[in-house]
């Protein structure tokens, strides 16, 4: 079959290009790791004071890499003088956590782990209530925690966009695309083969990035891993079809790279790294045309808030719509070469 031949050729070409393979699979990991160290300079285990904890709970906490210090009596002053990251008080009413919150990402991770440990204690169910108090700042200081899911989405988008765009561009510039159209292949077959050929690499990349982020970098992950992968795959499909489409408007690799500041960089700003709520209305409206905005929103919901695919279906629909429009435009754009 023609499509299979084309897919096979695209994959073979990419496999032979070792440097591009390395860029696709390892560059996101390197940058993510760097980001991780930048934003999590303090890598020590968090210190948690516990009042009235039982042995299984403490064991669960220690399993989660928390250094537990038991107290009979302690208050906020104890946290500061003993340089604890937080204090967990357990009484009949439930859980009460006081967080030092000097470093919001530590606090957030600590609270998450305490919640998980407590939930495990309660037999999988979340405890009725965890009262949370902050010594510094409040629950809103979650800047860097939110960054993780966005970065995962961004790197998937960026590298897939670049490599697929340049892939088709090479075909255009070298004349092989025209040569391809002198065979009985149909335009949609070319687009579909490109989506599949590069899509297979995008799937591998997505899986590597997601697992690395969660397993090695310990990125916050409350929801289901496969939900994260589904969202990223949809995003990769958007990046793939957009990359191929924009390569139509580039006449060299360098011109393709010039799309990065125009198409890729602005998406970071609209993806929620900077809170959008405070922005002017027209700026907020612009975010609605950024695929990464929807992906980041969905990833945040799943990884950070533990929501499922059902809760983010409108984001998924938006991503699917972007992909559909770009794929359709791609088939049209090839008309420039052959009407049929």
């Amino acid at each position: 079959m023609r499509i299979l031949a084309l897919i096979q050729r695209i994959m073979l070409q990419l496999l032979r290009d070792k440097r591009t393979m390395a860029l696709l699979f390892f560059a996101p990991l390197i940058v993510l790791t760097l980001m991780y160290f930048f934003f999590n300079g303090d890598n020590e285990n968090p210190q948690l004071g516990v009042i009235g904890g039982n042995d299984p709970l403490i064991a669960a906490l220690e399993n989660a890499s928390i250094d537990v210090v038991s107290y009979n009596d302690a208050d906020q002053q104890t946290i500061i003088t003993d340089e604890l990251d937080g204090l967990l008080e357990i009484n009949e009413g439930g859980f009460r956590v006081t967080l030092e919150n000097n470093d919001p990402s530590t606090s957030r991770a600590l609270l998450m782990q305490v919640t998980q440990a407590a939930a495990m204690q309660a037999g999988g169910e979340a405890p009725a209530s965890i009262d949370t108090e902050y010594i510094y700042g409040d629950a809103e200081t979650e800047f860097f925690d939110v960054l993780g899911p966005i970065l995962v989405g961004f790197f998937v988008f960026f590298f897939v966009f670049l490599i697929s765009g340049i892939g088709l561009l090479k075909e255009r510039v070298s004349g092989t695309l025209e040569r391809l159209l002198a065979t009985p292949i149909r335009r949609w077959e070319i687009v579909l083969a490109y989506l599949t050929g590069f899509g297979i690499f995008a799937i591998i990349q997505t899986i590597i990035v997601v697992f690395y982020s969660i397993q090695v970098l310990d990125m916050i992950m409350v929801g289901q891993v496969w939900h994260v992968i589904i969202v990223n795959l949809l995003l990769a499909l958007v990046a793939l079809s957009l990359g191929i489409l924009l390569s139509t408007f580039a006449s060299s690799e360098f011109q393709m790279v010039q799309f990065i500041p125009i198409v890729v960089i602005p998406q970071i700003f609209f993806a929620g790294i900077i809170p959008l709520e405070g922005m002017a209305d027209w700026l907020q409206n612009i975010s609605r045309i950024m695929p990464l905005y929807y992906a980041a929103d969905a990833l945040k919901a799943i990884m950070y808030r533990g929501e499922g695919l059902v809760d983010v279906y409108s984001n998924l629909l938006a991503l699917a719509a972007f992909a559909a429009v770009f794929i359709f435009l791609n088939i049209i754009a090839l008309k420039r070469y052959r009407k049929l």
Binding site: L12, R16, T176, A182, R186
Partner: protein, 241 residues
Amino acid sequence: MESSISINKLGKKYGKTTVLHEVDLQIAGGEIFGLIGPSGSGKTTLVKMIVGIDSPSGGTVEVLGKRVPNLSLLQEIGYMAQSDALYPELTGRENLRFFASLYKMKRSVLKERVAYAADLVQLTDELGKKVSAYSGGMKRRLSLAIALVHDPKILILDEPTVGIDPELRLSIWSELMLLKMEQGKTIIVTTHVMDEAEKCDRIAMVREGGILAAGTPDELKAAYGAADLEGVFLQAGRDAR
């Protein structure tokens, strides 16, 4: 002889520049037809429109009785572009197999055709090498092999011998003759080399987007009273002004 390709009032404009004006041309089945002219005269645009990968601004092209563009027609056309359209990361065999598999062909036939086409252009021993390691002449020959790998009735070759050493040029031409004589293929060749034009059954002289003269080399020489085709070209060009 029945007409294999029929071109009627074919024109092409890019914006305001006219690249081709109202070209009429009939090409018979089983002949080698040469399009002769300097670079920029519109030869490539003309052959691309015959293949159907460029759309005319006016006029029609019919190939084997079907209006171009037509997907099923592409099965019958072997096209060799002016620049080698090959995948340098892949080996010669992989390139050949890839293009062959875009056509309707049985798997067993495909294998045979790949071997045949490679043998015809004397590349059998080099098929395992990556194309990035090929010389210019080898790439040209591989392009030719790709053009005929699916056994098309019509071969359209855009400057097949440019940048190829004389020895190889001779062998490519004798192969083309063979394809015509033994398999009755219709072959359209563009060239700007006059001695290649002599080898064609019929030629059309293309200049500035129009056809100055068409006929067999001998007819043209007689009509313009010139000793060689170069003379015909000059005379026809002067007459056109």
